[in-house]
Symmetry: C2
DNA sequence: AGCGGTTCGGCAAACGATTGCAATTGACAC
DNA sequence: GTGTCAATTGCAATCGTTTGCCGAACCGCT
C-alpha cells in the first residue's frame, strides 16, 4: 500500500515504491542496461506497462548530457518567401522527419532570419539540440564556414564548394545545368535564356553548368533573367521580360516553380510551349507532371538527399570521418521541351 | 582565480564562481525574476554575455516541469503520400513554425502512421511536449475524441463536427463547397462532377456543401469521382474517368492538386479548360496562379489558420475557455472557370 | 543603543533520471 | 567456521536549473 495516491505513476520513484525496489533497479530494468536478475527485470517492465509508465525523456536527456533532438533550420536569407512556397524544401523536410524519427531523434523545426553573424552561434549555445541540418545555405556561407570550424555536428543541404569547410550534401548542380543545355541543343534551340537568382549558390552553379554545356560561341548569347523564387516574384520577372520583347526559343529555369512561372507568363504573351519555346525546370517536384504541358526537368532525388544528410550527421556525431557528397541529377523528359 | 579551467563557462555554477556570488543570484539575474539589486543584475548579465553563456534550456524545463516544445503531428492515416506532396499542409507547417517560435516554443515535427488506437496516448505519455497540434484528422477522429477527454492541450486542424469533443480550427468546408456550386451555376454549367476522396472528413464536407449549393433536382446528377490526394493517384483517377467517356462541363475538385490533375488529364483527352469545362479547386496554394489556365479556387487562409491554432492551444495551456473555430473561405476567380 | 522594517542574496531541496561503488546474499571449497 | 567469488541490488552523487525560506546588513527613528 502506497502512501500517496497510487493512481498515477509519474516517475521512476513511484514505480520503485510500488515494485518494492530501489529507483536504480527500476532504471536498470527499463533501460535494459546493467546486470539485473531476469525475473526482476521482467516484473518491473510488466508493472511499468500496466501503469502506462514511460521514462521522462527530458530528465533522461539532462542526465545523459544530450537532447535527443536534431534541428532543421531554414535560413530565410535573401528570399523571405521562398521556403513558404517551395515544394522542394517542404518535401525534403518530410523525408528528414521520417529519417530522424526512425533513428529515435526528434526533429526541431525552425525558420531563421539570419541577423548579423552570430545567429547560429546563439542557437548552438542554447544547447537545445545534438546536431543541426541546414536546408539551403542561402547567403550565409561565411557564417556557416566560421561555425563549422568549432562545431562538428552540422550538415548543410546545398551546393558544395572547395572554398567552404562545412559538410554538404547536394545535387551536382553543374552537371544538371549542363544536361539542360545539351537537351535544349538537341531540340534545336539556339536562342536561350536562364531564369533564376544567381545570388543563390545553388542557382549560380546551375547557370554555370548550363553555360559550360554550350559551345563557346553560344555562351555570350544566353540571356540571364534575374527571377526570385516565389511564384509571385518569378511570374512578375518573366512577365516583364516577355513584355519587353524577350522571345527565346529555349528556357532553362533555376527551379520548377520558376519554370511554371515562365510558362504561365509566356502563355499570357501568346508564346506557346513547347511549339515556340522549350522549357526545362529543375527539381522535379511532384506537381511538375501536372503542369500544362507537363514539365521537362532535372530531377533531384530528395529522398536520397534526406537520407544522406542524416547519415552524414550521425557519422559526425559518432566522430567518424565524413566527406561532402554530390548526388547525380537526372533528366526527366516530358512535353514542355 | 578559479579552481578549474575558467575558459568555458558551461553552467550557472561556473558563472557564479566567476562573479563571486551564489548560483541563486545568477539564476535570478538571468531570468529577470525575483528581487535583485539592479547593479548586481546588470553586472551578471554583462558577465554572461561576455562569456557567451546561455541558460541550459533542458535543465530549466526539467525544473519547471515543462518542455518548451509543441508537437505538430501529421497523421498519415489513409493517404500515405498525401503530406509529402501537398503544398497546403507544408505551407501550414511553415506558418506554425513562425507562430510558435515567436512565442518562444520549439516545434517538434513528427509524421505518424497511426497504429492501433493508442499511438497518441503513447506519444503523450513520453512527455516530450507541452501541447499538440494535429494537422488533419485523417481517419482518426475516434482516437482523437477519446484522447481529448483526458488530455487538454490539443488542437486539430480540420473540419468541425458536433459529434466530436475535440477542439478544431478549420475552414468552413460546407460554405466553400456551396460557393463552388453557385459559381459553376453562374457560369452556366449543368453537368457537374466532384473529384475527391470523401473518406476524408474535410473533403466529405466540401462535397456535401457542393450538393447543398445546387438546386434539388441537380443533386442526383452530380458525378462523384473518387480520387486520392497525391498527384499521381488523382491524375490516374481523372485519366480513367475521362477515358471512360466522362464529359462534365463543370468540375469541383477537393483540392488544388486534384484540380491540376483533372486539368492535365482533361487536356490529354482533348477537353479544353475553360472553354469546354470549368474547373474549381480548393486551397489556393501559391502555385494555383501559375497553372495553365490559372486556377479558380476556394481560398483557405492558411496564415490565419496557423495563428488561430496556436492561439487556441495557448488558451488551453492557460486553462482559458475555448471553442472550435471555423474560418470563412473565399472564392478566387481566375481563368479556369 | 535598541528596534522594526526593507532589501539582498545564500542555502539547500527539489525536478526525474543514470551510474560508480559498495553492501548483501548465497554457493561453494577448504 | 571461515574465506572467496559472483550475482544482484541499494546508496548517494550528479546533470543544470529554480525558488521557498531565512539570515545578514542597513536604514531611519525613538
Amino acid at each position: 500500500m502506497a502512501q500517496k495516491d497510487p493512481g498515477t505513476v509519474r516517475s521512476i520513484t513511484d514505480l520503485a515504491r510500488i515494485a518494492g525496489v530501489s529507483v536504480s533497479t527500476v532504471s536498470r530494468a527499463l533501460t535494459s542496461k546493467g546486470a539485473l536478475n531476469k525475473e526482476t527485470r521482467r516484473r518491473i517492465q510488466e508493472l511499468a506497462a500496466a501503469h502506462g509508465f514511460q521514462l521522462n525523456v527530458a530528465a533522461q536527456n539532462l542526465r545523459l548530457g544530450r537532447t535527443g533532438a536534431i534541428a532543421v533550420l531554414l535560413p530565410l536569407g535573401h528570399e523571405r518567401g521562398q521556403h513558404l512556397s517551395d515544394p522542394f524544401f517542404m518535401a525534403m523536410l518530410g523525408f528528414l522527419a521520417d529519417e530522424l524519427t526512425e533513428r529515435g531523434y526528434d526533429l526541431l523545426l525552425s525558420r531563421v532570419l539570419p541577423q548579423g553573424d552570430d545567429w547560429l552561434d546563439l542557437f548552438i549555445r542554447a544547447g537545445r539540440v545534438d546536431g543541426i541540418i541546414i536546408i539551403g545555405q542561402s547567403n550565409q556561407s561565411a557564417v556557416l564556414d566560421k561555425v563549422a570550424r568549432h562545431y562538428g555536428p552540422m550538415v548543410i543541404w546545398g551546393a558544395h564548394s572547395a572554398r567552404n569547410a562545412y559538410l554538404t550534401v547536394g545535387t551536382d548542380n553543374v552537371a544538371g545545368g549542363a544536361m539542360a543545355a545539351r537537351h535544349l541543343l538537341e531540340r534545336g534551340r539556339r536562342s536561350l535564356a536562364f531564369f533564376g537568382n544567381v545570388g543563390v549558390p545553388e542557382f549560380a552553379a546551375r547557370y554555370q553548368g548550363f553555360l559550360s554545356g554550350l559551345p563557346e560561341d553560344m555562351r555570350a548569347q544566353v540571356t540571364l533573367v534575374h527571377a526570385h523564387v516565389t511564384p509571385e516574384a518569378s511570374y512578375r520577372a518573366a512577365a516583364d521580360y516577355f513584355a519587353g520583347g524577350g522571345r527565346p526559343d529555349g528556357v532553362f529555369a533555376a527551379s520548377d516553380v520558376t519554370a511554371m512561372s515562365v510558362m504561365a507568363a509566356a502563355a499570357e504573351h501568346g508564346l506557346a510551349t513547347p511549339e515556340q519555346m522549350s522549357v526545362v525546370g529543375f527539381d522535379d517536384v511532384p506537381l511538375a507532371q501536372l503542369t500544362n504541358p507537363p514539365l521537362t526537368t532535372i530531377r533531384q532525388d530528395i529522398r536520397a538527399g534526406a537520407r544522406l544528410l542524416v547519415d552524414l550527421l550521425f557519422r559526425r556525431l559518432g566522430s567518424q570521418p565524413c566527406e561532402s557528397i554530390e548526388i547525380a541529377p537526372e533528366l526527366v523528359l516530358r512535353e514542355s521541351s
